[in-house]
Symmetry: C2
Subunit: 529 residues, 2 copies
């Protein structure tokens, strides 16, 4: 068949070329923890990435090879990404918060040939170096001098073409954090990355254009920073990167750089908002905040809405690149009262074109979309995993559906709302209690900084909820006060059998509550006494 | 290679499914010329399109067959589109304003098997029926009763799957209007249509979301209505269709349906604005207007800006699906004065990701991007033509560039500005005069309804500009007044040697000035006297 339309491959480097050509002056800013700031532009980034591609070639890296990064959010990290992907290699983002055993496992499983790492992780690298036999070359990604990325770039001229392969070739390798079992690698392709980015800029998604200033608080090693560097390139947006989540620096940077768009998990927003309220330093230019990883408490949503910020849940996972759904302001939003707005904003939203959702019961039969009947959430689409890296079997069922492990309801208008992780639901007397809803209700209580609900084994009910609570500094909130508060927000039979105050709660490497550790410790508390 | 990510084909029917599933209640409204209004939803449209697909199958239509439409903008036209494309056929949109010979040529060239036509074109169909031997079946697309589309739908149940082919299979066939030579067919593919639609919803392009209400004034037979039905499906926007361009109906419909987004050629906007100003009936909800086909006069841009409407040039052609560039509000827009805003808004803008532009001189060498040096505009990308339908050779050069025939400058920031059609430039004493700039300056003069500048043969200068002018009703504007006005807007040597007042100007079937006819008539006026 003779092609009637031009048959360009959807490849990641062309995103960068687009930004460099048509939005070349828009900045990429890094606000370093020491207070210094570096500024380059998309045009410079494109040139540096070409030098990086030449440097990888000089090191003997071939298309298809894995290049690992162990780094926070900053410009050289992006240079490494685009340079490696641009010469056909696969970027494997390591999560520095993983345990040693997990870091050893993933590097060996991926058989990474090169590691680019932040100076701050020198100790970690020295400790694990001998356990990473596939890594031939260690490169310091920040700083300068011998062994640094800068040293490699300085001898290159940037005069090269991108590697031009098929759009279905791999671009990035991201491992799930894996609270249970070994981490699993999701191998993004150029096609999946580009389509995901094209979908991401839409007004109902990240809403990015060349006038946007986007600061992804989400680390670049979490599902490629939710794909924001690629969506920002399509939009030609200014990007602002912070290698730290320290609230003072984040908040100052947001104000100074006129950040309009940001994205991150609820725990980071909790501390940022606490700082902003204490210091009267709410970032004034902010108008779009995406919250993902887990559900945001209603109090947080209300705080953003009051400041005129459009707050949107993003739902997804490493396996979905990650954009699965985004919260949306429906028609009639302006006419809704605060409670209605809060109810709508607490939902996970609707998928972009490309993503399909299905809700099924335990037998795999469709669950009705009535806004109350929960079901297991399945997903499919061109940026959803088909088979994990080096796995023997597909990750999808015969109809191509991927089982997310999440429990959700679908509202009649096509809006999805996560109820809980399937494994975190609490089953009391044959009825389901959502641990997420219980936690978010608890966080709305004055004096509560963080809360975790788990099911504890109960002789009569099977499971009963218990609540682990971290108080805010200076707070003396009591178990009775908390119960009183909860009575106004959840059904009476959802009230926890125990409220336990703790100094801190355990988190996974991606900042989510590590419920498995809590269950290990507290599951038998109602029977052991 | 085992697919790591899911490998869904980018097919047009999935756009419709997406809208039906996640924005099923958003309306598709048709405001008929007789004042009646029909309303369906995306969910209903999807169901009707499935019935249409069944009906085509029942008629013996096979995937790859051409199905022609001769129809204005209305719901059944969309049903026919999605039904035909959904069962694998190719929709060939006929332009009812074409001359008989062109209609005969394109139908035979495409070898259409079915024609769906508006009752209003019954006479045209009857006249040409015998000249269209490939058409086996004539279906009235509006109305009901025997021989109507409705009759076909009524016996189907909509219980069918879409035809599932490769994304590079054709979806639509659109012929260029061809002011010179035979019309040429551009065969869009499912992939090109879907990617074009994904790019189109972005904030810097059509800016469409589920809260948008979009009325494409541009006819569906002009480059698939600029792809708006497909972009609207991705966004889940409400669509409003008018089979007529009558300003009163358009304006009333825009107001009643709270139209937020619209798109059309300057001539239609001229009459709509004239009506709105006379009747004090400017559509209040309007906030985004795309103007394409030819450059908008500064006076029109100023009128929209004053009303708080973001006005954006869209540049493109049938060969580019058509989205090539879109005018954009740059960073710092709010700080610009009116003249600066006008200057920026008069540019054709920047391309979405996917489209690349190149500016070359007559020798094919790159022209500098300084905002003043004109060059021939070339374009490439995944929704740009590669080879015309049934042509023997590619429409692109060895590097894949398509020569647009437009003359443009590129500004240093990557913004493109059309200067003229290459064939419409006036060459006076070796220097170029832009006919478009001269016309737009003339339209800014009170009393001028429309103007056309062409080069007339001149014994000394080679060519000199002459201006054909249509006065507004009641205006008595004189040649001297017009010259006085022009002196403030163009270089003195650009002033026309003759100003000729005419009752009307000839247009192509797509509403553009038919300059070839003017040149035929007036080219020798300066030498013949």
């Amino acid at each position: 068949m003779i092609a009637s339309m031009q048959d360009h491959q959807l490849r990641v480097p062309q995103l960068l070329d687009h930004a460099a050509r048509y939005h070349g002056d828009r900045e990429i800013v890094t606000a370093w923890p020491d207070g210094s700031v570096t500024r380059i532009t998309w045009a410079t980034l494109a040139n540096d990435a070409r030098k990086m591609a030449q440097a990888f070639e000089r090191l003997g890296i071939k298309p298809g090879d894995r290049v690992a990064t162990l780094a926070m959010n900053h410009t050289p990290h992006l240079v490494a990404w685009f340079g490696a992907i641009g010469m056909g290699a696969i970027v494997h983002t390591l999560n520095p918060r993983l345990f040693d055993e997990q870091l050893i496992y993933t590097v060996n499983h991926a058989a990474d040939r090169v590691l680019l790492y932040d100076c701050a992780f020198q100790q970690q690298v020295d400790r694990l170096r001998d356990r990473w036999p596939t890594i031939e070359r260690f490169i310091r990604i920040d700083g300068d001098g011998p062994g640094s990325l800068l040293e490699l770039l300085n001898v290159e001229d940037g005069e090269c073409d991108w590697y031009g392969g098929d759009e279905r070739e791999p671009s990035m390798l991201c491992y799930t954090s894996g609270t249970t079992g070994a981490p699993k690698g999701v191998l993004y392709t150029h096609r999946s990355t580009v389509l995901h980015a094209m979908a991401g800029v839409a007004p109902s998604m990240f809403d990015l254009s060349a006038t946007s200033v986007v600061l992804p608080i989400v680390p670049l090693f979490h599902a490629a920073g939710w794909g924001l560097p690629f969506a920002a390139a399509i939009a030609g947006a200014k990007m602002v990167l912070c290698p730290t989540n320290e609230p003072t620096i984040l908040s100052q940077t947001m104000t100074r750089e006129h950040v309009t768009h940001s994205a991150g998990v609820p725990t980071v927003w909790l501390s940022l908002l606490a700082h902003a309220d204490a210091a009267n330093a709410f970032p004034r230019a902010l108008r779009h905040v995406s919250i993902g990883g887990s559900a945001a408490p209603a109090s947080m949503i209300a705080r953003f809405e009051a400041a005129g910020v459009r707050v949107a849940h993003i739902w997804g996972m490493t396996e979905t690149s990650p954009l699965g759904t985004m919260g949306q302001r429906p028609v009639g939003w302006a006419l809704m009262d605060e409670a209605q707005k809060l109810s709508v904003a607490s939902r996970q939203g609707k998928p972009p074109y490309g993503v399909e959702l299905a809700l099924v019961d335990d037998a795999g039969e469709p669950v009705t979309h009535d806004g109350v009947s929960p079901g297991r959430l399945r997903v499919r689409g061109p940026w959803v995993v088909h088979r994990y890296y080096a796995a023997d079997a597909d990750a999808v069922d015969d109809d191509g559906w991927f089982d997310t492990g999440d429990v959700a309801v679908m509202h009649p208008d096509g809006t999805m709302q996560i109820t809980d992780r399937a494994k975190d639901m609490i089953k009391s007397g044959g009825e389901w209690i959502s641990s997420v809803e219980l936690e978010n209700a608890a966080i709305g209580c004055a004096g509560v900084a963080e809360a975790a609900a788990i099911g504890a084994i109960h002789p009569k009910w099977g499971e009963r909820p218990i609540l682990l609570v971290v108080r805010r500094p200076g707070s003396t909130v009591t178990s009775d006060e908390l119960r009183l508060h909860l009575q106004n927000h959840v059904a009476k039979w959802w009230l926890p059998d125990e409220v336990i105050f703790v100094e801190e709660l355990p988190h996974t490497a991606t900042g989510k509550l590590l419920k498995s550790a809590l269950r290990d410790r507290y599951a038998k508390i109602l029977i052991d006494g």
